[in-house]
Protein backbone atom coordinates (compact mmCIF):
# COMPACT_ATOMS: atom_id res chain seq x y z
CA UNK A 1 0.00 0.00 0.00
CA UNK A 2 1.21 3.48 -0.80
CA UNK A 3 1.26 6.18 1.85
CA UNK A 4 -1.90 7.71 0.40
CA UNK A 5 -3.92 4.57 0.98
CA UNK A 6 -2.63 3.66 4.44
CA UNK A 7 -5.55 2.99 6.75
CA UNK A 8 -6.71 6.15 8.48
CA UNK A 9 -5.17 8.60 5.98
CA UNK A 10 -7.75 10.65 4.07
CA UNK A 11 -8.29 9.36 0.53
CA UNK A 12 -8.87 11.36 -2.62
CA UNK A 13 -11.33 9.88 -5.11
CA UNK A 14 -9.42 11.28 -8.06
CA UNK A 15 -6.35 9.27 -7.07
CA UNK A 16 -8.17 5.96 -7.41
CA UNK A 17 -7.53 3.72 -10.44
CA UNK A 18 -11.15 4.07 -11.55
CA UNK A 19 -10.60 4.51 -15.32
CA UNK A 20 -9.28 0.99 -16.04
CA UNK A 21 -9.48 -0.88 -12.72
CA UNK A 22 -12.70 0.03 -11.00
CA UNK A 23 -12.93 -3.24 -9.06
CA UNK A 24 -9.53 -2.39 -7.55
CA UNK A 25 -10.72 1.12 -6.75
CA UNK A 26 -13.72 -0.23 -4.86
CA UNK A 27 -11.46 -2.69 -3.02
CA UNK A 28 -9.08 0.09 -1.95
CA UNK A 29 -12.02 2.03 -0.50
CA UNK A 30 -13.36 -1.11 1.20
CA UNK A 31 -10.01 -2.01 2.73
CA UNK A 32 -9.45 1.52 4.00
CA UNK A 33 -12.05 1.20 6.74
CA UNK A 34 -15.75 1.16 7.53
CA UNK A 35 -16.23 4.94 7.65
CA UNK A 36 -13.38 6.68 5.87
CA UNK A 37 -12.20 10.21 5.31
CA UNK A 38 -12.69 10.95 1.63
CA UNK A 39 -12.02 14.29 -0.06
CA UNK A 40 -13.82 16.93 2.01
CA UNK A 41 -15.96 14.62 4.07
CA UNK A 42 -16.61 11.05 5.12
CA UNK A 43 -17.70 7.99 3.20
CA UNK A 44 -19.51 4.82 4.29
CA UNK A 45 -18.13 1.58 2.86
CA UNK A 46 -20.28 -0.97 4.71
CA UNK A 47 -23.92 -1.82 4.22
CA UNK A 48 -24.95 -1.26 7.85
CA UNK A 49 -23.60 2.31 7.83
CA UNK A 50 -25.05 3.04 4.38
CA UNK A 51 -28.44 1.88 5.68
CA UNK A 52 -28.14 4.02 8.81
CA UNK A 53 -27.33 7.09 6.69
CA UNK A 54 -29.79 6.65 3.85
CA UNK A 55 -32.72 5.71 6.07
CA UNK A 56 -32.36 8.77 8.29
CA UNK A 57 -33.06 11.85 6.13
CA UNK A 58 -33.67 14.03 9.20
CA UNK A 59 -30.00 13.82 10.13
CA UNK A 60 -28.48 13.08 6.71
CA UNK A 61 -30.05 15.67 4.44
CA UNK A 62 -30.21 15.82 0.65
CA UNK A 63 -30.96 19.52 0.62
CA UNK A 64 -27.44 20.91 0.34
CA UNK A 65 -25.94 17.77 -1.09
CA UNK A 66 -26.64 18.39 -4.79
CA UNK A 67 -25.35 21.94 -5.28
CA UNK A 68 -22.83 20.92 -7.89
CA UNK A 69 -25.24 19.43 -10.40
CA UNK A 70 -25.54 22.77 -12.18
CA UNK A 71 -29.29 22.91 -12.58
CA UNK A 72 -30.86 26.38 -12.86
CA UNK A 73 -33.91 25.11 -10.95
CA UNK A 74 -34.10 22.98 -7.80
CA UNK A 75 -33.84 19.31 -8.64
CA UNK A 76 -37.22 17.94 -7.70
CA UNK A 77 -37.24 15.69 -5.68
CA UNK A 78 -33.66 14.50 -5.10
CA UNK A 79 -32.50 17.78 -3.57
CA UNK A 80 -35.39 17.81 -1.08
CA UNK A 81 -36.05 16.13 2.24
CA UNK A 82 -39.37 14.94 3.65
CA UNK A 83 -42.02 16.35 3.90
CA UNK A 84 -41.57 18.27 0.59
CA UNK A 85 -39.88 15.25 -0.95
CA UNK A 86 -42.79 13.06 0.16
CA UNK A 87 -45.20 15.24 -1.82
CA UNK A 88 -43.18 15.03 -5.04
CA UNK A 89 -42.73 11.34 -4.53
CA UNK A 90 -46.45 10.75 -4.07
CA UNK A 91 -47.19 12.70 -7.26
CA UNK A 92 -44.56 10.93 -9.35
CA UNK A 93 -44.53 7.37 -8.10
CA UNK A 94 -47.72 6.15 -9.89
CA UNK A 95 -46.24 7.13 -13.26
CA UNK A 96 -43.18 4.93 -12.73
CA UNK A 97 -44.74 1.83 -11.20
CA UNK A 98 -44.42 -1.49 -13.04
CA UNK A 99 -48.11 -1.30 -13.95
CA UNK A 100 -47.76 2.18 -15.40
CA UNK A 101 -44.74 1.42 -17.57
CA UNK A 102 -45.68 -2.08 -18.74
CA UNK A 103 -47.77 -0.78 -21.68
CA UNK A 104 -44.63 0.90 -23.08
CA UNK A 105 -42.81 -2.39 -23.56
CA UNK A 106 -43.83 -3.21 -27.17
CA UNK A 107 -42.94 0.26 -28.45
CA UNK A 108 -39.61 0.32 -26.58
CA UNK A 109 -38.79 -3.16 -27.84
CA UNK A 110 -39.48 -2.04 -31.40
CA UNK A 111 -37.08 0.87 -30.93
CA UNK A 112 -34.34 -1.36 -29.50
CA UNK A 113 -34.61 -3.82 -32.37
CA UNK A 114 -34.32 -0.91 -34.79
CA UNK A 115 -31.07 0.12 -33.10
CA UNK A 116 -29.62 -3.41 -32.85
CA UNK A 117 -30.33 -4.69 -36.37
CA UNK A 118 -27.88 -2.37 -38.16
CA UNK A 119 -25.20 -3.33 -35.60
CA UNK A 120 -25.79 -7.03 -36.25
CA UNK A 121 -25.43 -6.41 -39.98
CA UNK A 122 -22.31 -4.27 -39.61
CA UNK A 123 -20.56 -6.74 -37.33
CA UNK A 124 -19.11 -4.17 -34.94
CA UNK A 125 -20.15 -1.16 -32.91
CA UNK A 126 -19.37 1.29 -30.18
CA UNK A 127 -22.07 -0.02 -27.85
CA UNK A 128 -22.21 3.30 -25.99
CA UNK A 129 -22.49 5.60 -29.02
CA UNK A 130 -24.63 3.26 -31.11
CA UNK A 131 -27.03 1.78 -28.57
CA UNK A 132 -26.88 2.53 -24.84
CA UNK A 133 -26.30 6.25 -25.41
CA UNK A 134 -29.29 6.51 -27.73
CA UNK A 135 -31.98 4.25 -26.34
CA UNK A 136 -32.57 5.88 -22.90
CA UNK A 137 -32.99 9.27 -24.58
CA UNK A 138 -35.55 7.77 -26.93
CA UNK A 139 -37.33 6.38 -23.86
CA UNK A 140 -37.43 9.86 -22.33
CA UNK A 141 -38.77 11.34 -25.58
CA UNK A 142 -41.37 8.57 -25.81
CA UNK A 143 -42.53 9.12 -22.22
CA UNK A 144 -42.74 12.86 -22.75
CA UNK A 145 -44.52 12.58 -26.10
CA UNK A 146 -41.67 14.28 -27.97
CA UNK A 147 -40.53 13.36 -31.48
CA UNK A 148 -37.67 10.86 -31.62
CA UNK A 149 -35.82 13.09 -34.05
CA UNK A 150 -35.10 15.38 -31.07
CA UNK A 151 -32.73 12.65 -29.83
CA UNK A 152 -29.44 14.03 -31.08
CA UNK A 153 -30.29 17.55 -29.87
CA UNK A 154 -31.03 16.12 -26.40
CA UNK A 155 -27.69 14.28 -26.42
CA UNK A 156 -25.90 17.61 -27.00
CA UNK A 157 -27.89 19.37 -24.25
CA UNK A 158 -27.54 16.56 -21.76
CA UNK A 159 -23.80 16.14 -22.31
CA UNK A 160 -23.26 19.88 -21.92
CA UNK A 161 -25.10 19.95 -18.59
CA UNK A 162 -23.22 16.96 -17.23
CA UNK A 163 -19.87 18.36 -18.34
CA UNK A 164 -20.78 21.66 -16.75
CA UNK A 165 -21.59 20.04 -13.44
CA UNK A 166 -18.31 18.10 -13.57
CA UNK A 167 -16.39 21.29 -14.34
CA UNK A 168 -18.07 23.26 -11.56
CA UNK A 169 -17.49 20.49 -9.02
CA UNK A 170 -13.83 20.46 -10.11
CA UNK A 171 -13.70 24.23 -9.57
CA UNK A 172 -13.15 25.20 -13.23
CA UNK A 173 -15.90 27.78 -13.84
CA UNK A 174 -14.60 28.98 -17.24
CA UNK A 175 -14.85 25.46 -18.63
CA UNK A 176 -18.61 25.57 -18.13
CA UNK A 177 -19.53 28.64 -20.25
CA UNK A 178 -20.57 26.57 -23.25
CA UNK A 179 -22.44 24.30 -20.86
CA UNK A 180 -24.21 27.29 -19.31
CA UNK A 181 -25.40 28.43 -22.74
CA UNK A 182 -26.68 24.97 -23.65
CA UNK A 183 -28.29 24.48 -20.24
CA UNK A 184 -30.02 27.80 -20.90
CA UNK A 185 -31.29 26.48 -24.24
CA UNK A 186 -32.60 23.33 -22.60
CA UNK A 187 -34.20 25.37 -19.81
CA UNK A 188 -35.96 27.55 -22.40
CA UNK A 189 -37.08 24.51 -24.39
CA UNK A 190 -38.48 22.80 -21.28
CA UNK A 191 -40.14 25.99 -20.02
CA UNK A 192 -41.92 26.39 -23.37
CA UNK A 193 -42.87 22.73 -23.30
CA UNK A 194 -44.37 23.02 -19.81
CA UNK A 195 -46.38 26.07 -20.87
CA UNK A 196 -47.73 24.29 -23.95
CA UNK A 197 -48.52 21.07 -22.13
CA UNK A 198 -50.35 22.71 -19.25
CA UNK A 199 -54.04 22.23 -19.88
CA UNK A 200 -53.35 19.99 -22.88
CA UNK A 201 -55.14 16.68 -23.22
CA UNK A 202 -52.02 14.61 -23.96
CA UNK A 203 -51.41 11.19 -22.44
CA UNK A 204 -47.66 11.76 -22.06
CA UNK A 205 -46.26 11.90 -18.53
CA UNK A 206 -45.70 15.65 -18.53
CA UNK A 207 -49.26 16.50 -19.61
CA UNK A 208 -50.64 14.11 -17.00
CA UNK A 209 -48.43 15.56 -14.26
CA UNK A 210 -49.50 19.07 -15.16
CA UNK A 211 -53.17 18.09 -14.83
CA UNK A 212 -52.71 17.31 -11.12
CA UNK A 213 -54.86 19.53 -8.92
CA UNK A 214 -55.01 20.74 -5.34
CA UNK A 215 -51.95 19.89 -3.22
CA UNK A 216 -50.47 17.97 -6.13
CA UNK A 217 -50.51 20.89 -8.57
CA UNK A 218 -47.00 21.63 -9.83
CA UNK A 219 -45.71 25.13 -10.53
CA UNK A 220 -43.93 25.74 -13.83
CA UNK A 221 -40.60 25.85 -12.00
CA UNK A 222 -41.28 22.54 -10.25
CA UNK A 223 -42.27 20.92 -13.54
CA UNK A 224 -39.12 22.17 -15.28
CA UNK A 225 -37.05 20.93 -12.34
CA UNK A 226 -38.62 17.53 -12.75
CA UNK A 227 -37.80 17.46 -16.46
CA UNK A 228 -34.18 18.36 -15.65
CA UNK A 229 -34.05 15.59 -13.10
CA UNK A 230 -35.42 13.00 -15.53
CA UNK A 231 -32.70 14.04 -17.97
CA UNK A 232 -29.89 14.06 -15.38
CA UNK A 233 -30.94 10.92 -13.51
CA UNK A 234 -32.57 8.78 -16.16
CA UNK A 235 -30.38 8.93 -19.25
CA UNK A 236 -26.70 8.43 -18.50
CA UNK A 237 -27.44 6.05 -15.64
CA UNK A 238 -29.08 3.48 -17.92
CA UNK A 239 -26.45 4.09 -20.59
CA UNK A 240 -23.68 3.49 -18.05
CA UNK A 241 -25.28 0.44 -16.44
CA UNK A 242 -25.76 -1.18 -19.86
CA UNK A 243 -22.21 -0.33 -20.94
CA UNK A 244 -20.70 -1.83 -17.79
CA UNK A 245 -22.93 -4.89 -18.06
CA UNK A 246 -22.03 -5.55 -21.68
CA UNK A 247 -18.33 -5.05 -20.90
CA UNK A 248 -18.51 -7.73 -18.20
CA UNK A 249 -20.49 -10.07 -20.48
CA UNK A 250 -18.08 -9.52 -23.39
CA UNK A 251 -15.22 -10.55 -21.12
CA UNK A 252 -16.99 -13.53 -19.58
CA UNK A 253 -18.15 -16.01 -22.26
CA UNK A 254 -19.56 -18.44 -19.67
CA UNK A 255 -21.90 -15.84 -18.16
CA UNK A 256 -22.86 -14.63 -21.62
CA UNK A 257 -23.71 -18.18 -22.67
CA UNK A 258 -25.99 -18.54 -19.64
CA UNK A 259 -28.01 -15.61 -20.96
CA UNK A 260 -28.07 -16.92 -24.53
CA UNK A 261 -29.10 -20.42 -23.42
CA UNK A 262 -31.63 -19.24 -20.86
CA UNK A 263 -33.03 -15.73 -21.41
CA UNK A 264 -35.26 -16.24 -18.36
CA UNK A 265 -32.15 -15.62 -16.26
CA UNK A 266 -31.84 -12.05 -17.56
CA UNK A 267 -33.66 -10.37 -14.63
CA UNK A 268 -31.26 -12.07 -12.19
CA UNK A 269 -28.33 -11.15 -14.43
CA UNK A 270 -29.45 -7.52 -14.41
CA UNK A 271 -29.49 -7.47 -10.59
CA UNK A 272 -25.99 -8.95 -10.45
CA UNK A 273 -24.56 -6.62 -13.11
CA UNK A 274 -26.13 -3.60 -11.44
CA UNK A 275 -24.85 -4.79 -8.05
CA UNK A 276 -21.29 -4.79 -9.38
CA UNK A 277 -21.59 -1.53 -11.29
CA UNK A 278 -24.06 0.98 -9.90
CA UNK A 279 -23.81 3.94 -12.30
CA UNK A 280 -24.43 6.45 -9.49
CA UNK A 281 -22.15 4.93 -6.84
CA UNK A 282 -21.64 8.06 -4.71
CA UNK A 283 -24.74 9.20 -2.85
CA UNK A 284 -24.15 12.48 -1.03
CA UNK A 285 -25.79 13.69 2.17
CA UNK A 286 -24.98 16.54 4.59
CA UNK A 287 -25.49 16.22 8.35
CA UNK A 288 -28.08 18.54 9.89
CA UNK A 289 -26.63 18.20 13.38
CA UNK A 290 -23.75 16.59 15.22
CA UNK A 291 -24.11 12.83 15.01
CA UNK A 292 -22.13 9.74 15.96
CA UNK A 293 -21.59 7.34 13.06
CA UNK A 294 -19.79 4.07 13.68
CA UNK A 295 -18.14 5.54 16.78
CA UNK A 296 -17.00 8.77 15.08
CA UNK A 297 -18.39 12.16 16.01
CA UNK A 298 -19.35 14.07 12.85
CA UNK A 299 -20.13 17.77 13.27
CA UNK A 300 -23.16 19.44 11.71
CA UNK A 301 -22.56 20.19 8.03
CA UNK A 302 -20.36 17.16 7.36
CA UNK A 303 -20.61 15.58 3.91
CA UNK A 304 -21.26 11.87 4.22
CA UNK A 305 -21.15 9.88 0.99
CA UNK A 306 -22.60 6.39 0.73
CA UNK A 307 -20.38 4.26 -1.52
CA UNK A 308 -22.94 1.94 -3.05
CA UNK A 309 -20.54 -0.18 -5.12
CA UNK A 310 -18.49 -0.83 -2.00
CA UNK A 311 -21.50 -1.62 0.20
CA UNK A 312 -22.63 -4.06 -2.51
CA UNK A 313 -19.31 -5.88 -2.07
CA UNK A 314 -19.64 -6.10 1.71
CA UNK A 315 -18.17 -9.53 2.47
CA UNK A 316 -20.32 -9.88 5.58
CA UNK A 317 -23.38 -9.92 3.37
CA UNK A 318 -22.45 -12.41 0.63
CA UNK A 319 -19.82 -14.86 -0.56
CA UNK A 320 -17.35 -14.01 -3.34
CA UNK A 321 -18.50 -10.38 -3.42
CA UNK A 322 -16.13 -9.39 -6.25
CA UNK A 323 -17.17 -12.35 -8.42
CA UNK A 324 -20.03 -12.44 -10.91
CA UNK A 325 -22.82 -15.01 -10.58
CA UNK A 326 -26.32 -15.04 -12.01
CA UNK A 327 -27.42 -17.80 -9.67
CA UNK A 328 -27.04 -16.10 -6.30
CA UNK A 329 -30.38 -16.87 -4.73
CA UNK A 330 -30.17 -13.93 -2.34
CA UNK A 331 -28.71 -10.84 -3.93
CA UNK A 332 -29.85 -7.75 -2.07
CA UNK A 333 -28.00 -4.67 -3.31
CA UNK A 334 -28.42 -0.95 -2.88
CA UNK A 335 -27.59 0.18 -6.42
CA UNK A 336 -30.97 1.90 -6.76
CA UNK A 337 -30.54 3.45 -3.32
CA UNK A 338 -32.60 2.74 -0.23
CA UNK A 339 -34.91 4.78 1.93
CA UNK A 340 -37.18 7.61 0.80
CA UNK A 341 -35.02 8.48 -2.23
CA UNK A 342 -35.00 4.96 -3.70
CA UNK A 343 -34.57 5.41 -7.46
CA UNK A 344 -37.94 6.44 -8.84
CA UNK A 345 -37.03 5.08 -12.27
CA UNK A 346 -35.78 1.68 -11.13
CA UNK A 347 -38.67 -0.23 -12.73
CA UNK A 348 -38.26 1.67 -15.98
CA UNK A 349 -34.47 1.14 -15.88
CA UNK A 350 -34.93 -2.60 -15.34
CA UNK A 351 -37.39 -2.74 -18.24
CA UNK A 352 -35.00 -0.87 -20.54
CA UNK A 353 -32.09 -3.13 -19.60
CA UNK A 354 -34.12 -6.31 -19.93
CA UNK A 355 -35.29 -5.40 -23.43
CA UNK A 356 -31.73 -4.55 -24.54
CA UNK A 357 -30.20 -7.75 -23.11
CA UNK A 358 -33.01 -9.89 -24.57
CA UNK A 359 -33.00 -8.43 -28.06
CA UNK A 360 -29.20 -8.17 -28.27
CA UNK A 361 -28.50 -11.77 -27.27
CA UNK A 362 -31.31 -13.08 -29.48
CA UNK A 363 -29.47 -11.58 -32.47
CA UNK A 364 -25.86 -11.38 -31.32
CA UNK A 365 -24.96 -14.33 -29.09
CA UNK A 366 -21.19 -14.07 -29.55
CA UNK A 367 -19.18 -10.85 -29.29
CA UNK A 368 -15.96 -9.58 -27.78
CA UNK A 369 -14.16 -6.36 -26.98
CA UNK A 370 -12.34 -5.14 -30.11
CA UNK A 371 -8.61 -5.86 -30.24
CA UNK A 372 -6.51 -2.90 -29.18
CA UNK A 373 -9.36 -1.09 -27.44
CA UNK A 374 -9.55 -0.72 -23.67
CA UNK A 375 -12.88 0.46 -22.27
CA UNK A 376 -12.19 3.35 -19.90
CA UNK A 377 -14.38 4.91 -17.24
CA UNK A 378 -15.03 8.65 -17.61
CA UNK A 379 -13.29 10.00 -14.57
CA UNK A 380 -13.46 11.99 -12.40
CA UNK A 381 -17.21 12.58 -12.30
CA UNK A 382 -20.17 11.95 -10.03
CA UNK A 383 -21.73 9.20 -12.10
CA UNK A 384 -19.47 6.60 -13.63
CA UNK A 385 -19.66 4.94 -17.02
CA UNK A 386 -17.56 3.86 -19.98
CA UNK A 387 -16.47 6.43 -22.54
CA UNK A 388 -16.83 3.85 -25.28
CA UNK A 389 -17.20 0.10 -25.66
CA UNK A 390 -15.99 -1.18 -29.02
CA UNK A 391 -17.45 -4.61 -29.65
CA UNK A 392 -16.77 -7.03 -32.49
CA UNK A 393 -19.46 -9.55 -33.29
CA UNK A 394 -18.40 -13.19 -33.57
CA UNK A 395 -15.36 -15.02 -32.21
Amino acid sequence: MTAGTAAGMPLTLNDLPMPEHRDTAWRILHDHGRLIELDNGFAATRLDIVEAVMKNPEVFSSKEAFDSLGSPVPLVPIAFDPPEQTRYRRILQPFFSPRAIRPLEPELRRQVIELIEPIAERGECDFIADLSGKFPIQVFLTLFGLPLDMRDQFIVWKDAILEMSDASSAGVPEASEDGMRKAGELFMYLSDLVRHRRGAAGEDILSQLLRAEGDDELTDNEAVGLCFLFILAGLDTVMDALGFGMERLAGDPACRQEIVDNPAIIPAAIEELVRLDPPAPFVPRVTTREVVVDGQVLPKGTRVTSLLAVANRDGDERTDPYGISFTRGDNPHVSFGIGVHRCLGSHLARLEMRIVYEEWHRRIPVYRIADGSTPRVKWPRGTVGLQSLHLVIGQ
Binding site: F96, S97, P98, S346
Partner: protein, 64 residues
Protein backbone atom coordinates in the same frame (compact mmCIF):
# COMPACT_ATOMS: atom_id res chain seq x y z
CA UNK B 1 -44.99 -20.04 6.72
CA UNK B 2 -46.42 -16.57 7.08
CA UNK B 3 -45.26 -13.42 5.23
CA UNK B 4 -45.85 -9.74 5.84
CA UNK B 5 -44.66 -6.39 4.47
CA UNK B 6 -43.98 -3.38 6.67
CA UNK B 7 -45.73 -0.64 4.69
CA UNK B 8 -43.81 2.09 6.52
CA UNK B 9 -40.49 0.62 5.40
CA UNK B 10 -41.38 -0.50 1.86
CA UNK B 11 -40.31 2.06 -0.74
CA UNK B 12 -41.42 0.08 -3.78
CA UNK B 13 -38.26 -1.62 -5.06
CA UNK B 14 -40.52 -4.39 -6.30
CA UNK B 15 -38.09 -7.24 -5.70
CA UNK B 16 -40.54 -9.24 -3.56
CA UNK B 17 -43.12 -9.59 -6.32
CA UNK B 18 -40.39 -10.17 -8.92
CA UNK B 19 -38.83 -12.89 -6.76
CA UNK B 20 -41.99 -14.56 -5.47
CA UNK B 21 -44.89 -13.64 -7.78
CA UNK B 22 -47.17 -16.28 -6.26
CA UNK B 23 -46.72 -14.77 -2.79
CA UNK B 24 -46.55 -11.02 -3.45
CA UNK B 25 -48.01 -8.57 -5.95
CA UNK B 26 -47.67 -4.89 -6.74
CA UNK B 27 -50.13 -2.12 -6.13
CA UNK B 28 -50.81 0.80 -8.50
CA UNK B 29 -47.84 2.73 -7.14
CA UNK B 30 -45.41 -0.17 -7.28
CA UNK B 31 -45.35 -0.99 -3.57
CA UNK B 32 -45.36 -4.63 -2.61
CA UNK B 33 -48.41 -6.29 -1.12
CA UNK B 34 -49.08 -9.75 0.25
CA UNK B 35 -51.41 -11.94 -1.79
CA UNK B 36 -54.22 -13.54 0.18
CA UNK B 37 -53.86 -13.89 3.91
CA UNK B 38 -50.08 -14.20 3.87
CA UNK B 39 -50.07 -17.94 4.46
CA UNK B 40 -47.42 -19.48 2.16
CA UNK B 41 -47.65 -23.01 0.79
CA UNK B 42 -44.68 -25.31 1.23
CA UNK B 43 -43.95 -25.08 -2.49
CA UNK B 44 -43.58 -21.30 -2.36
CA UNK B 45 -41.63 -21.13 0.90
CA UNK B 46 -38.18 -20.93 -0.75
CA UNK B 47 -39.30 -18.07 -2.98
CA UNK B 48 -40.81 -16.26 0.00
CA UNK B 49 -37.60 -16.57 2.00
CA UNK B 50 -35.60 -15.32 -0.98
CA UNK B 51 -37.95 -12.37 -1.38
CA UNK B 52 -37.42 -11.45 2.26
CA UNK B 53 -33.63 -11.76 1.88
CA UNK B 54 -33.63 -9.67 -1.30
CA UNK B 55 -35.59 -6.72 0.09
CA UNK B 56 -33.12 -3.81 0.24
CA UNK B 57 -35.29 -2.10 2.88
CA UNK B 58 -35.68 -5.26 5.00
CA UNK B 59 -39.42 -4.65 4.84
CA UNK B 60 -40.43 -8.26 4.12
CA UNK B 61 -40.78 -10.82 6.90
CA UNK B 62 -41.13 -14.53 6.25
CA UNK B 63 -41.28 -16.83 9.26
CA UNK B 64 -42.71 -20.03 10.63
Amino acid sequence: MKVSIDRDTCTGHGLCYLTAPRVFSDDDEGYGRVLGDGEVSAGDADDALRAAANCPERAVTASG
